[in-house]
């Protein structure tokens, strides 16, 4: 049985993850999932591949704490987060968040909350390969603003 958080180089199967999360929980009436994938273009340049680095230990702890926060804020039952690291290509899946609840509103909100939180507070870093060479991806001010709308004023960018 997988835990709530996995950081892995391998791809993930959303259907398998959702099935494991729902199991035989008859309270569940809504499952909301988000999947992030690698684009072939960013900040005006073509992207041929992307290397994802993380801080082993801290990354898992940070996401576990975010899930605890989500369970306190929203009327939800279960959460599963999978984030890939290592070398990825355009079209590859990068991250998934799945949330279960009785009604859709709570799982929609919790899913967005977790992604907003993860984008600005989980220690991952992306390095892109472009025709002009490799470059580290810049953090976005808009991601800090997305987290602020949940009442969390933390600066990343």
């Amino acid at each position: 049985m997988a835990g709530r958080v996995s950081i892995q180089t391998e791809d993930f199967n959303l259907a398998v993850e959702v099935q494991a999360l729902r199991k035989d929980d008859k309270r569940v009436g809504a499952v909301c999932t988000f999947t992030g994938t690698v684009r072939d273009r960013n900040d005006g340049l073509n992207v041929s591949s992307m290397e994802l680095e993380h801080y082993p230990g801290m990354t898992e702890k940070a996401i576990e704490a975010m899930i605890d926060d989500a369970l306190n804020r929203f009327d939800i039952f279960g959460v599963r987060v999978v984030h890939r690291v290592g070398l990825l290509q355009p079209l590859d899946q990068v991250v998934m968040v799945a949330v279960t609840s009785a009604h859709r509103g709570e799982s929609f909100r919790a899913c967005e909350f977790l992604m907003d939180y993860l984008k600005t507070q989980a220690p991952f870093w992306k390095k892109e390969q472009t025709p002009e060479g490799a470059r580290w991806v810049d953090a976005r001010v808009t991601d800090d603003a997305a987290l602020a709308k949940w009442g969390i004023e933390l600066k990343n960018s």
Binding site: G36, L52, E53, H54, Y55, G57, M58, K61, A62, H83, V94, V95, M115, L118, K119, T120, Q121, A122, P123, F124, W125, K126, K127, W136, V137, D138, A139, L154, N156, S157
Partner: protein, 82 residues
């Protein structure tokens, strides 16, 4: 006291190592950052005005966080996962 310092992403590349153990007289992350800045040009990436984030004990922290013996400290750029 002795602390372990980890570096990630562009900061790891600029400093040229992923981690080091260091004997420090500093009591806070700010003091440790000052010591490193004085230790050589490789640490210029930690300069004030640079976008540097910090962790102490694997928790996001600010410069006022206090060191303890065997603390694990990390310096890294703004995060870009997801």
């Amino acid at each position: 006291m002795r602390v372990t310092i980890k570096y990630f992403a562009s900061i790891r590349e600029a400093i040229g190592r992923a981690s080091e153990q260091r004997e420090t007289a500093a009591t806070s992350l700010a003091g440790l950052r000052d010591e490193l800045l004085a230790a050589g040009p490789a640490y210029a990436c930690l300069g004030r005005g640079r976008a540097v984030r910090m962790a102490l004990g694997q928790m996001m922290s600010d410069e006022s966080a206090l060191l303890a013996p065997d603390s694990e400290v990390a310096f890294f750029p703004p995060v870009t996962g997801g």
